[in-house]
Amino acid sequence: MSTSITGRSAVDELPGPDGRSPLAGDRAGTGRLGDRLFGGAATASGLLVIALVTLVGVFLVAQAIPALQANQANFLTSREWATAGTSPRFGIVDLLWATVVTSVIAMAIAVPLGVAIALFITQYAPTWLSRPAAATIDLLAAVPSIVFGFWGLTIAGQYFEPVAGVIDAALGWIPFFAESEGGPSAKSTLAFAGVILAIMVLPIVTAISREVFAQVPTAHKEGALALGATQWEMIRTAVLPFGKPGVISAAMLGLGRALGETLAVTILLSALNDGAPFSSSIFNGGATFASKIALGIQEANTATSTGALIAAGLVLFVLTFVVNAIARVVIERRKAFSE
């Protein structure tokens, strides 16, 4: 059974005889009542989805605008977040930085590792290993994120201290990797939050990549092997190119999760105090969009403080969307070239 939750599959890559996608809107529908009802219901569902998204967007914007108007600081460039009182000042720079850094770390670890594991399961592993391994990883895709966070804080976190030390010793001359004096303990840093996010999205990336790799036509693979390719050459020339769009979607889905992850990050990350100097190090604390919302929403008692958080949510929404859109463009372009 093959399932993909990415919306991309082999079928997307295979145009029909007229060069269009094979199934889009054939004209077999007739004017019969049943057809009109069923087709109408399908169209209505589609319209409902459009309406839902529009409604979400409108609501978020409507609640964010008054707060943004009251904002005394520049929303896009300020590092402050003080929403109480009559002259609120808030901006998203720190949130954006923490969100992007943790997600990039998560992706840098999870994507290569996930692809490699998927390749291992589909191409290398003996059958006795590949099935249970695949089942276990699928199971882990369902572990709630709060458990990853709690596990990171109470069990795994202490082992990250020496790892951080090694990274600092080797790459500390780059400010990005430098451990700061008096900074938070290693398990409360952006770096470790990124690692936990990586572990969290790893099953997702692996599961989807695995499905895509499993769909590579046997003829392609056997063709490569028959030409004398080594297994690695076969993978590089037949499996990877075929699976690339799927892997990109898998990565995007994982990235979407990482960007929006709330509880795991809230549990782990140390917040910075007001007026802390900006640090470009991954061994520093911070707050992501989602964790800021989670920490602030309960005590947000005024339209301004709620609106400010919703505005942050809106930016997160847009950020996730832009990433998805880029992925879509990349996949589409690839498709165009491969024809």
Partner: protein
């Protein structure tokens, strides 16, 4: 060293051979690279599996004993504070199942029909718009979905925070998963089946209803279960919309209903052994539920597989 031409443009720098490739034994750098790749894959597998197995093992070790007590499955936490042992998780299990069931019932018709629209009916701008909106929906962070429902349900309509409101937020997260997986499955249904049906004079809606959807059924179920698994572990919407309770509540419109994620969240707030045991117990229970759902999905998939 022999060179081979496999696919154009994918192997940088290797000149195309004029003669057919000779099947000389693998040698030199090619063999080294192949072995290196093999080692890297094994290594990646081991490295990647360590934390995953670690988290699973710690959950089982720390939570397993809770699940072996019969009252875990028969009792709620009524009257049990964080510093006392005893009580069970049945209130949270029920809550989670109810949330999942209601969310599924609400999402599946919309999700499946949207997929049908996209695959079978959709054309032109509207189809592209719907597809685009599904993409956006995929990207909605769960906390943003919860904020939206809070703004709509509580702020605008003045309703109570009830389980049903949580379900509405979860529906937003589940619909795109269902649309995408169903879309996928419908695309895999061979066009010949449709054409054969049309040739017999079967109207389009009946073709979809009686031929296309049944053919894709097992795949759709798997997709739905994936979506269910995802929403069962969601915590953020529950924090905003679904206050916890220690007792059994099955009324969708009652104000407090327990779920496993909120039970975890409530119990993790203190460093007390009985509470920590419950964190891991609830986590393991949730994983187990999802596991059972997957088994069910596989069973249905095998049972209802259309041959051909």
């Amino acid at each position: 060293m022999s060179t081979i031409e496999l696919e154009t443009g994918t192997r940088g720098g290797s000149p195309a051979p004029a003669a057919p490739p000779t099947l000389s034994p693998k040698s030199g750098s090619r063999a080294v690279r192949d072995n290196l790749a093999r080692i890297v894959m094994w290594g990646a597998f081991v490295i990647g599996v360590i934390p995953l197995v670690w988290i699973l093992v710690s959950t089982i070790l720390k939570g397993g004993s809770m699940l072996l007590e019969s009252q875990w499955w028969t009792n709620s936490q009524a009257g049990i504070t964080n510093r006392r042992v005893g009580g069970g998780a049945v209130h949270a299990i029920q809550g989670t199942l109810i949330h999942a069931a209601v969310t599924t019932v609400l999402s599946v018709p919309v999700g499946v029909m949207t997929a049908v629209y996209l695959v079978e009916y959709g054309r032109g701008r509207l189809a592209r718009a719907v597809s685009f909106m599904v993409d956006i929906l995929t990207g909605i962070p769960s906390i943003v979905a919860a904020l939206f429902v809070y703004a709509l349900w509580v702020t605008t309509f003045g309703f109570q925070r009830v389980a049903f409101a949580v379900c509405l937020a979860l529906v937003l997260l589940m619909i795109p998963t269902i649309v995408r997986s169903t879309e996928e499955m419908l695309k895999l249904v061979p066009n010949e089946l449709r054409e054969a049906s049309y040739a017999l004079g079967v109207p389009k809606w009946k073709t979809i209803f009686k031929v296309v959807l049944p053919t894709a059924f097992s795949g759709i179920v798997t997709g739905v279960l994936l979506g269910v698994a995802r929403v069962m572990g969601e915590t953020a919407p529950l924090l905003v919309l679904g206050p916890y309770t220690q007792v059994i509540v099955t009324d969708l419109f009652a104000t407090n209903m327990a779920t496993l994620p909120t039970m975890i969240n409530q119990s993790r707030s203190e460093n007390l052994q009985p509470a920590l045991d419950r964190v891991w117990g609830a986590a393991l229970t949730l994983i187990l539920l999802v596991f059972l759902l997957n088994l069910l999905g596989r069973f249905i998939g095998r049972f209802s597989k259309v041959k051909g």
